[in-house]
């Protein structure tokens, strides 16, 4: 039993993050996919794609949906996807520390992962003037 992870982002972001995470933690402990939303995309046309991706990563324990920018089209799409029936929790401001930390807590349940993700993203910000 494990949670699925779906990244819904602007072009060029989600797949790049998944590729790096894959190099660092091979194999990724959670089923993970990235869906990138082109700038001129029709949101209605993307919903079936997002729904299909959601079902591919869902193992029956729900899906953690990570978006890059709250309020932007990808995160609005994520909000619609989460109303389709599959248990979904959403977290925005996706970054690499967030993704790695989620993978590091792969044994947790869906309801515990948003806080894990948020702490990963926050703690990844370091004012590097040492």
């Amino acid at each position: 039993m494990s949670v699925g992870v779906l990244l819904i982002t602007h072009s060029g972001i989600g797949s790049a993050l998944v590729a790096v995470a894959n190099r660092l933690l091979n194999p990724l402990p959670l089923r993970t996919e990235a869906l990138e939303v082109p700038f001129d995309a029709d949101p209605d046309a993307l919903l079936p794609l997002a729904s299909a991706a959601l079902r591919r990563v869902d193992d029956g324990d729900g899906v953690l949906v990570l978006t890059d920018l709250y309020g932007a089209s990808p995160s609005n799409l994520a909000a619609r996807v989460s109303r389709l029936g599959t248990p979904v929790r959403r977290v925005s401001a996706l970054n690499l520390p967030m993704l790695l930390r989620v993978m590091n807590y792969s044994e947790l349940e869906l309801d515990q992962l948003p806080a894990i993700a948020a702490a990963g993203a926050r703690n990844g910000v370091i004012l590097d003037d040492a």
Binding site: R23, L24, L25, P97, L100, R101, N104, G120, N123, G124, I126, A130
Partner: protein
Amino acid sequence: MIERDLTVSNRLGLHARATAKLVQVLSAFRSNATLTAKGREVNAKSIMGVMLLAAGQGTHVKLRVEGEDETNAADAVIALFDRRFDEDS
């Protein structure tokens, strides 16, 4: 509790891939583990924690492991350091 002094000897130091490997090795054990270097002690089971050490080649680190399987966990970490994180081959 087990304490060991280790040296980061691979060329790239505790960079992202080496750190991820260390954390993955430790995740198989229940014990808590920390690494201390340059006056900073971090959770050795956290990728960002270990990355915070910014430990390059030649850095001396102190490993501390505490828990029911501490012997095996410490051995696994020591072996990984000895193997230079499977790099430099």
